[in-house]
């Protein structure tokens, strides 16, 4: 195993890709909904990380950079895609995130509902929820990733959770929310 200090950019890229590609794409799907766009965004993040490896030099820092980059790029992708999305919506009746053949209609509906509900939230709330409930980052890590205070993270998390629970009431079992 290569010592971290001697990792070169290409090796670091390969290792981080092996360990985090899928997870980061899934994170981007939560933020963006569309898988193709999610892959583009995460691909760009990896390319940027590779270019910045000289100043990162450490896999943990590189991962933090990747997370931040994925969130920021997803946000800007969302801003630029209104027109495209309306066009695509006309072409395609439904999102093709999952293969309905493989999963029960119920699970499919639930997944679609969760992604739709996330879309309905304000951007910051969606980001905080995805980082907290999908990547399971701490408040401090979320604050660092988004460049906001821990207090703001708390506020977005609590408003976001409440809104999401309301939107998904039908899919959450048990009343102990």
């Amino acid at each position: 195993m290569t010592r971290e200090t001697s990792l070169d950019a290409d090796t670091a890229l390969e290792q981080l890709y092996a360990a985090h590609w899928r997870r980061l794409v899934r994170l981007a799907v939560l933020l963006l909904r569309d898988q193709g766009a999610a892959e583009e965004v995460v691909q760009d993040a990896f390319v940027a990380m590779h270019g910045r490896w000289r100043s990162l030099r450490d896999p943990d820092k590189a991962l933090a950079y990747l997370r931040q980059s994925v969130v920021n790029r997803s946000r800007s992708a969302l801003r630029h895609r209104g027109v495209v999305e309306r066009y695509v919506a006309r072409q395609r009746p439904a999102a093709d995130l999952v293969e309905p053949a493989d999963v029960s209609t119920l699970a499919h509906d639930r997944r679609t509902a969760v992604l739709e509900a996330l879309r309905a939230l304000p951007t910051r709330q969606r980001e905080v929820l995805a980082l907290r409930h999908y990547l399971e980052l701490s408040e401090a890590e979320i604050a660092e990733t988004l460049g906001i205070s821990r207090g703001s993270v708390k506020a977005h998390a609590s408003r976001g959770s409440a809104a999401l629970r309301e939107l998904l009431a039908g899919h959450l079992d048990g009343g102990d929310l």
Partner: protein, 320 residues
């Protein structure tokens, strides 16, 4: 785990991203996006990932024979280049057939697409039918719909000793398939030497432009795109490729260094008059000891070996 955590994980659980490592490495190695080269009067993007399938051949490590130049010592700067599909000969129950390999080719090598086939394959099971120096250049002329492949001289008009007629025919197809992949269009291919069409190459008539033969006649019936030879895997990976197999079924196995099968399954493609894509689910290798493994993809062989047995393609991978 609270309920939102469960829901969010569940919402993306079946999102299986395509493998983009090659595209990432390719772009990471480039100072700018999109390099354009002039070839035969037509502008070609060399940065296209052929057929949308991204695969890595490890460009700058571990292979002394690899034509690829080493990056600078710091490792922080690498060479620009592109990923290209190159066809090579390999053994199958139907005799020699063409397997497709994706190669990283640095721009500094300045190879003509026909010269790709002069580069040794990454997979040790494959070989090329062309010696180094066989080709001078290749031009893609989109307006007139022709690819011209220039041989260095007339020395390859006849089939050398040791090459079977079947291999000679396949050698021509190797060039046609490779330059058509480069051109991204199935344009006919004219072989030339010293500026004029050449009558035969390896004793195969070549005075007229040639079309590619049907895939099922020349391609290996199963070919792996991912993982690339030598790929390092952590946790899990999925494999994909193209095949033409009985009922579209592509059985696969992962074997350890002793040859013992440690994982197996099958992927589902379709059955048509050409090779169609297949892809495995994620193969979990998190509980396997670190080491070298062989991934094997096969065609389904309902005859139980009567027809010569299944076609196989293999890739060596390292599990960390």
């Amino acid at each position: 785990m609270d309920e939102l955590t469960t829901l969010l994980h569940d919402a993306v659980e079946d999102v299986e991203p395509t493998d983009r490592l090659v595209a990432i490495r390719q772009r990471a190695a480039k100072p700018r996006r999109g390099r354009w080269y002039l070839a035969g009067g037509a502008l070609l993007a060399t940065a296209v990932v052929v057929a949308g399938v991204a695969v890595l051949t490890r460009p700058d490590t571990d292979r002394g024979a690899d034509p690829v130049g080493q990056p600078t010592a710091s490792g922080s700067h690498t060479v620009p280049g592109s990923v290209q599909a190159v066809y090579y000969l390999g053994k199958t129950p139907q005799g020699p057939r063409l397997f497709r390999e994706f190669r990283w080719l640095p721009a500094t090598t300045r190879l003509a697409p026909s010269q790709y086939v002069e580069q040794p394959p990454t997979d040790p099971d494959y070989f090329s039918a062309w010696p180094e120096g066989a080709f001078l250049a290749a031009y893609v002329d989109y307006p007139s719909g022709l690819i011209t492949v220039q041989l260095a001289d007339r020395s390859l008009q006849h089939r050398p000793a040791g090459m079977s007629p079947a291999e000679a025919r396949l050698a021509i197809e190797q060039v046609i398939y490779t330059v058509q992949a480069y051109a991204q269009q199935p344009l006919p291919v004219q072989f030339e030497a010293e500026g004029n069409p050449i009558g035969t190459v390896y004793d195969i008539p070549t005075s007229e432009p040639l079309a590619a033969s049907p895939q099922l006649d020349v391609l290996a019936l199963v070919s792996i795109s991912n993982p690339a030879e030598g790929r390092v895997v952590e946790g899990g990976f999925s494999a994909d490729g193209v095949a033409s197999s009985f009922e579209g079924t592509v059985p696969w196995e992962l074997r350890d260094e002793t040859g013992e099968v440690v994982r197996s399954g099958s992927a589902q493609g379709t059955m048509e008059d050409h090779l169609t894509p297949w892809k495995t689910d994620t193969i979990d290798v998190s509980d396997l000891p670190a080491g070298t493994y062989t991934f094997v993809a096969m065609t389904d062989d309902p005859s139980g070996g009567e027809g010569g047995g299944p076609t196989t393609d293999t890739r060596t991978i390292t599990v960390r």
